[in-house]
């Protein structure tokens, strides 16, 4: 496996301020790299979608009081790595078992479509869907697929009868 440099590794409690903090650090790091504006923005773009997704899930789980603090911190993770050519984003959080099928279908659908079809799907969703207070109209995954231009890898690992561990792996190529 190629040598990957870790740009950001974060595990633990996700608050809205966490998003800000991680983005600021990443922006500084990416500004020092010889990469195109397009790639830099794509990495940040996907990172925001991942972090906001974790944050939304984290809130639900905190309210649910299902995990103790130690367990909770272990289950939330965001990692950004690169190997000069490519960027790798890993995003993880617990998910309710009953929601797995919906999420899996969304990712499988996004993975099965080409750029033009993804754009069409995105357009139809923003034209027709309602957005909740914190966003979330199923646009995130489509946006990630569009910006990544690679298949989205994912896994679900059962934690208990209620929750599974949901991990997303996304790759962005630096096309200079």
């Amino acid at each position: 496996m190629e040598d990957r440099q870790v740009i950001i590794y974060y595990e633990g409690c996700f608050k809205f301020e966490t998003i800000e903090k991680l983005l600021t650090e990443t922006k500084q790091n990416l500004n020092d790299k010889e990469i195109s504006v397009k790639t830099k923005k794509r990495v940040l773009n996907i990172m925001v979608e991942c972090l906001e997704n974790i944050y939304k899930h984290a809130e639900k789980v905190i309210n649910n009081n299902h995990f103790n603090k130690e367990e909770y911190n272990k289950f939330y993770k965001f990692v950004l790595e690169n190997n000069n050519q490519d960027f790798y984003l890993t995003s993880a959080n617990p998910i309710l078992n009953k929601n797995i099928e919906t999420v899996r279908n969304k990712i499988d659908q996004a993975n099965s479509l080409g750029k033009a079809e993804l754009k069409e799907l995105y357009a139809s969703k923003i034209n027709n869907s309602m957005i909740s207070e914190r966003g979330g109209a199923g646009l995130g995954i489509i946006d990630i697929a569009l910006k990544s231009e690679n298949k989205i890898n994912y896994s679900f690992t059962k934690i208990d009868d209620l929750f599974s561990y949901y991990e997303l792996k996304i790759k962005v190529n630096d096309n200079k």
Partner: protein, 135 residues
């Protein structure tokens, strides 16, 4: 009507809708914590302004177009729905006979932002001008 000014924050754009100069700008990043709470007052203001303008439209106040400058560095997927809503309101202005012009700015090399503008323009069937900001 008074101008609508909302200062930018780390995660929300500057909104500067200057009714005197008729330059309406949205500048910066858009990923507010509560996207609905951020955009709904802006959309409500636009409704009110559009109604007032169309009721009092004359040769003098409609001589120069309202110029909308979108200078977005980045917007998240939940903001995109509301940015489309703003573009739809701009189109409403146009259908009411109010002269408008839309400039869509993007950083040099940021094809994704340019394409986002093109998609929005296609959705409302109204042409935008695209302006590349040199890096």
């Amino acid at each position: 009507m008074d101008a609508l000014i909302i200062e930018a924050t780390e995660n929300s754009p500057l909104i500067s809708f200057d009714t005197d100069s008729k330059v309406f700008e949205i500048v910066g990043e858009s990923r507010p914590e509560n996207v609905r709470e951020f955009y709904e007052p802006i959309l409500a203001w636009m409704d009110e302004y559009g109604t007032e303008m169309s009721a009092n439209l004359n040769e003098e106040n409609n001589a120069n177009p309202i110029t909308f400058n979108f200078k977005l560095e980045y917007f998240n997927s939940s903001s995109s729905k509301f940015i489309l809503d703003i573009v739809k309101k701009i189109y409403d202005f146009h259908t009411k006979g109010i002269k408008i012009k839309v400039n869509w700015y993007f950083d040099e090399g940021d094809e994704d932002m340019q394409e986002a503008g093109e998609e929005l323009s296609k959705m409302v069937k109204f042409p935008f001008d695209y302006i590349e900001i040199a890096g």
